[in-house]
């Protein structure tokens, strides 16, 4: 008996929604932490898509890649948060609109 399956399309749609939310979050939010979280959201949206296609094709490569992504995301969070803390310490703010030193 075939276990009940969810069609891959749903996963992909969910992944796309999550990704767009992440993108919008990055574009719209001014708090660095929020942007950071939006980025995480985008990453996980991608993870979701990877896992969904891995299931469809019965290929473990997708899941494997997701593990790597999660690991790296953890490292990235560590670095990213440290950066934000450092920014906060110098600027007393994590509003990225105030961090416009790169302006040409």
């Amino acid at each position: 008996m075939q276990p009940p399956t969810v069609a891959t399309e749903y996963f992909v749609v969910l992944s796309a929604v999550l990704f767009i939310m992440g993108v919008l979050g990055v574009l719209v939010r001014r708090n660095a932490i929020m942007i950071f979280m939006s980025v995480e959201l985008m990453l996980n949206a991608a993870n979701l898509a990877l896992v969904a296609f891995a299931r469809q094709w019965g290929n473990a490569g997708g899941q494997l890649t997701v593990f790597f992504v999660i690991t790296i995301a953890a490292a990235e969070v560590a670095v990213g948060l440290a950066l934000i803390v450092a920014i906060f310490r110098t600027k007393k703010s994590i509003d990225i609109d105030e961090l416009n030193a790169m302006q040409g």
Binding site: V23, I96, Q103
Partner: protein
């Protein structure tokens, strides 16, 4: 003869050795020893020459060519066919010159020992004198033109050294001496230029510079040969450089006989006759330089800056006669070039007249003699120009005697004047040291403040009583120079005039007539200025303290005077143009002259000195003088008697000894018979000159204010001043040659070479051009085009960048949005092919 003649190198080497000894050891030797070495060297050379003379007489007057040992060759370049050896020639001409040079030279050496006594460079003086003798002997003994040239320049060098001997005198005298020396050398160099050119021409014409090859003989007149020089082809006896080659003179004769010979000089060709004329004319330039003829005589009067023995030896007796010797030696060439000979004659007579005129107005005792020498050299040159080679040589010899005598006499006077001056001065200041015969060269340094010229005749007068020997010998010299019978000068001058007479009347040459007239006038001048000198120097009353205190000179100075006086009296016997009968008369006259000198002289002197002034002390005649005059008179009588009474020497014996003697080495030498009318005319000219001078310069020798009598008279003032100014020769040369040369040199050196070529041209053309080019490359090209180009590019980039800068807002969302946009774009591009399908 070969054996005896092979001693000839010794004649040259001995004076050289003497010079070397004195040069290196002189500082350790006493004056006497130095003088002895030098005089011995000269005397030995004379002795060897005398021995060779006897030898050559005994061997038929045959000339010999001698190659000195060790020096096998000099200029030897086989590839260029140049082979000029150190080769000497002993023949009657070179022997004559050797005898005169060493004979007179020895006497003057002897004299110089006394004259130069105390000089700080005593040894050096004798080094130069000996060196001079050596070079002069090289000049006369060389067998080729180059050896002659060696001597020619060498004597010029010695002359330079000796004129400038007192280069360090104070008060500007030293500079004057140095400049006189330099002038002499440079003017002589101009002459040497001519001689060098002649030598080049001779070499490329004849291929050799030898006078004669060893196998050549001269033919005397009357022998059945057309040519005077002939080359003998002796079997198995090759000369130096092959027997086929002829010497210069033999080749000349051969080509002249052949006729129409063309000489090629590489780039052009000339007929042989023209070449000969060119050669002789170039040689003439040399002659005018060395023998002080117009236009190059100007050095000789200045050369009197040298010590007086030098003036006597070099600038009167020997060196200056080298030109006459040269023409006599090359008589074959001059014989073949009538045009050159005519020019020689004209130069000679012009010089004789001009210098005679200048001598009339001089105050310096030596300047008078110097111009007189120039004038007499003019006589000699005129003689050889007229073809009277023997006459020229004869006058050369007699002139050597009496002019050396006169110069030495003047030296004695100057010496005495200096001593007299010193004496008077020392007494005046009571400083003692009155007998200190001090360093001659520093006489003038002793700090006498007033300018005193011991050579100015205005400071003299009345010296006859103070210096009897000098006076008598000087008088003999004067009379000989004036051509008074029977002294040597009469015979030799008469022979020259006879030559001129013959050239004019027999050969119809214009220059002959000209020479006769002009030389007569010059002879008159001679007598006049010499008697003027006697009046000014010896007669009358002393005009200065110095003249009043002048002492007679030492024996080493007076003995040469006496010997030369004897030679002056009897020197005419060398070439008396008389037959045997004439000798009787002559002998009697000579004896009379001797007696006249001995007995009549004190009275004569009294007559000349003037009755107005009482003679306080009767000077005694030196016994040596008495003895010598007696001895020489006796010798002459004995020799005359020998000629008459020894049968083998008798009947056919011709008395023109010199002509007969020179015939063996000088082609085209002709004797001359005495022309009694001419002789009497010449004699009267001489006597007239003396009498005129005696009349003019009596009772007082000087007019008011130390003026000459002639200057004081308005009618002769202009002429005297002209003469006194030496006809402005020096000024003219200074104005037209020296100054332009100097100015041109300064212009060339400072303006053209330095300012223009070295600075401006170099700087503007080379440096500035380089600089400007560099500037051009640096500023418009490098800074301009290239640099600006890159700058513009950079600026453009910057502008674009500034515009692009706006993109960088610094807001993260802008970047994210851009990225997103980019991603979408990339995806669109990637998906585009799918969409198309």
């Amino acid at each position: 003869m070969e054996v005896i003649a092979s001693f000839v190198p010794l004649v040259v080497i001995l004076p050289f050795v003497g010079a070397l000894i004195n040069l290196f050891l002189g500082r350790y030797m006493s004056e006497k020893l130095i003088g002895a070495v030098a005089t011995t060297a000269a005397g030995l050379a004379f002795a060897i020459a005398a021995v060779m003379t006897i030898g050559i007489t005994a061997h038929g007057y045959e000339a010999t060519v001698v190659n000195p040992p060790l020096l096998d060759s000099w200029l030897y370049i086989p590839s260029a066919a140049i082979d000029i050896p150190w080769q000497m020639r002993v023949d009657t001409l070179s022997l004559t010159m050797m005898l005169v040079v060493t004979g007179v030279g020895t006497l003057i050496h002897l004299y110089a020992i006394g004259y130069m006594h105390g000089d700080s460079r005593f040894a050096r003086f004798f080094v130069y004198l000996n060196l001079f003798l050596a070079f002069m002997l090289i000049l006369v003994t060389g067998n080729n033109f180059l050896m002659m040239f060696v001597g020619w320049e060498g004597v010029g060098l010695c002359s330079f050294l000796l004129i400038g001997f007192w280069f360090d005198k104070k008060h500007g005298e030293g500079w004057k001496n140095s400049n006189a020396a330099r002038k002499a050398f440079i003017v002589n160099r101009v002459g040497d230029f001519g001689l060098l050119m002649a030598i080049f021409l001779i070499f490329w014409t004849f291929g050799t510079l030898d006078y004669y090859k060893p196998n050549e003989v001269l033919h005397l007149e009357g022998e059945p040969h057309s040519a005077a020089v002939d080359t003998l082809i002796r079997a198995g006896e090759g000369g130096h450089g092959g027997s086929s080659q002829k010497g210069v003179f033999a080749q000349t004769e051969a080509w002249l006989a052949e006729g129409g010979h063309i000489v090629s000089f590489g780039v052009f060709e000339l007929p042989f006759e023209t070449v000969i004329t060119l050669i002789t004319l170039f040689m003439l330039i040399g002659v005018t330089g060395k023998s002080a003829q117009i236009p190059l005589f100007v050095w000789l009067p200045d050369a009197m800056a040298g010590p007086t023995p030098v003036s006597a030896l070099i600038h009167a007796a020997t060196m200056v006669t080298a030109g006459v010797y040269l023409i006599t030696r090359t008589s074959v060439l001059y014989h073949a070039a009538p045009l050159s000979s005519a020019i020689v004659t004209i130069i000679g007579i012009a010089t004789a007249l001009m210098a005679g005129f200048i001598a009339l107005g001089q105050w310096d005792i030596k300047k008078v003699l110097a111009y007189s020498t120039v004038s007499q050299l003019g006589f000699m040159v005129a003689a050889v120009g007229l073809g009277g080679y023997a006459a020229g040589m004869f006058h050369l010899i007699t002139h050597a005697f009496f002019k050396a005598l006169l110069f030495l006499g003047s030296g004695s006077v100057i010496h005495a004047m200096e001593h007299g001056h010193h004496h008077a001065h020392a007494h005046g200041h009571a400083e003692g040291d009155s007998h200190g015969h001090d360093d001659h060269g520093e006489q003038a340094d002793h700090g006498h403040d007033e300018a005193f010229d011991p050579q100015d005749m205005r400071n003299m007068g009345g010296l006859a009583r103070r210096m009897p020997i000098t006076f008598v010998t000087y008088l003999i010299g004067t009379l000989a120079l004036a051509g008074i019978f029977p002294l040597a000068g009469f015979w030799s001058k008469d022979e020259i005039l006879g030559k001129a007479f013959n050239a004019g009347f027999n050969d119809g040459k214009i220059e002959g007539f000209l020479a006769l007239g002009v030389l007569m006038v010059a002879a008159g001048f001679t007598a006049f200025y010499m008697w003027r000198q006697i009046k000014l120097v010896f007669l009358g009353v002393p005009r200065t303290e110095a003249a009043a205190a002048a002492p007679e000179s030492s024996p080493s100075m007076t003995i040469p005077l006496l010997v030369l006086a004897a030679l002056t009296i009897f020197g005419g016997a060398l070439n008396v143009p008389l037959g045997v009968s004439g000798v009787l008369v002559l002998g009697v006259l000579f004896i009379m002259a001797g007696f006249w000198l001995l007995w009549a002289l004190p009275g004569v002197r009294l007559f000349f000195i003037g009755r107005a002034e009482p003679v306080t002390s009767q000077p005694t005649v030196n016994p040596i003088f008495r003895l010598i005059v007696l001895a020489s008179s006796a010798a002459f009588i004995l020799s005359g008697a020998a000629i008459m009474f020894v049968p083998s020497l008798g009947a056919s014996y011709q008395l023109e000894v010199l002509v007969l003697w020179l015939e063996h080495s000088v082609p085209y030498t002709k004797g001359l018979t005495l022309n009694p009318i001419l002789a009497i005319v010449a004699l009267s000219v001489g006597i007239a000159g003396i009498l005129l001078a005696q009349r003019v310069y009596s009772p007082s020798a000087l007019a008011e204010g130390n003026q000459d009598i002639l200057e004081a008279q308005p009618s002769t003032r202009a002429a005297f001043r002209l003469s006194n100014a030496k006809l402005y020769w020096d000024e003219t040369y200074g104005r037209f040659i020296e100054q332009p040369y100097n100015r041109a040199a300064a212009w060339l050196a400072n303006k053209l070479d330095w300012e223009f070529w070295h600075d401006r041209f170099h700087h503007t053309v080379f440096r500035d051009f380089y600089k400007r080019a560099a500037d051009f490359i640096a500023t418009p090209v490098d800074r301009g085009a290239i640099d600006q180009g890159f700058l513009r590019i950079a600026r453009g980039v910057a502008q674009i960048a500034a515009r692009l800068r706006g993109v960088q807002t610094g807001y993260v969302r802008t970047y994210v949005f851009t990225m997103l946009f980019g991603v979408v774009l990339v995806m669109l591009i990637l998906l585009l092919p799918l969409l198309r399908q």
